[in-house]
């Protein structure tokens, strides 16, 4: 569940296009995403890419230096969340209903992880998302993600 400072976002004029770059900048400068060091990487229609740095205090396996999977879930939660607003072309409050993550392989220690989130279907209340996390080669992901969000105030369509 990402952390948009809602007061800023609701200032966006109704009907104006949603800007994933501006929102990512807001979302990643504080709270959980800020602590993780999450950053905006890019976006397109219905997709968003964020990154997560490799950092010693985010390690899950001290013997190998492999990142913990928790930060990768956070990364994918945020990337898929913003992809929903990108698809809806506006911000509206929503909550993550579920996320499933397949850990395809361990991320290489020292490398930043890119999370690409994509919204593939919007209904009035539910957004269906999927995504991958990789550490340099999108064709060789570290994780695959699938999940759903629910609009908590208002509807996506």
């Amino acid at each position: 569940m990402p952390n948009p400072p809602t007061e800023d976002l609701f200032a966006t004029k109704p009907g104006s296009d949603f800007d994933p770059l501006a929102l990512s900048a807001l979302m990643t400068r504080r709270a959980h995403a800020g602590w993780l060091g999450m950053a905006y990487e890019g976006h397109g229609d219905g997709w968003v890419e964020l990154s997560l740095p490799w950092r010693e205090d985010l390690v899950g396996v001290p013997e190998t230096g492999v990142l913990a999977s928790g930060p990768i879930i956070s990364l994918m939660d945020n990337a898929t969340s913003i992809s929903v607003w990108s698809m809806a072309r506006r911000f509206l409050p929503h909550a993550t209903l579920d996320l499933r993550v397949d850990y395809v392989r361990a991320a290489e220690p020292g490398r930043k992880v890119i999370g690409r989130g994509e919204c593939y279907k919007l209904t009035r209340t539910i957004a269906f998302v999927r995504g991958i996390a990789h550490d340099g080669d999108p064709d060789d992901p570290v994780a695959h993600v699938i999940g759903t969000f629910m609009a908590t105030h208002g509807t996506y369509l």
């Binding site: 569940m1 990402p2 952390n3 948009p4 400072p5 809602t6 504080r30 709270a31 959980h32 995403a33 602590w35 010693e56 205090d57 985010l58 390690v59 899950g60 396996v61 001290p62 990142l67 913990a68 999977s69 928790g70 930060p71 879930i73 956070s74 990364l75 994918m76 939660d77 945020n78 409050p93 909550a95 993550t96 209903l97 579920d98 996320l99 499933r100 993550v101 397949d102 850990y103």
Partner: protein
Amino acid sequence: MNGLELPPYAVALGIGIDHDEDDKPVLFVDFSERILGRPGFIHGGALSGLMEMAGFAGLRAELAQRGEPQRIKPVNVQVEFMRGGTEQRTFAMGHVTRAGRRVALVNIEAWQDDRTKPIALAQMKFLLSPAGE
């Protein structure tokens, strides 16, 4: 990591062991800016991180009790978010549903002030292999 040793990520996030229940660890995390998601609520990723740690810890404890040290590798996780986590202490505990020779399935529950109202459920699948292989 074993049942009682938490990795750097868990320590940095503020995850600790609250107490044991039937010799299985109950983990907790106190609310802080580090786990804040949308205003007033815990980030789903941080909550998932706590639950994964509880899953690892529960499985480690179970395998240790059996005297079967194993190398464990997560295959996947499914998290269901049922209630927003608010600004208070959050607990999580993993229950081993099945641990065979090759695969283990662990259900994890997260709750806050009312244990009968879990805020999230997760299920993790692990691949097991004999330690040393």
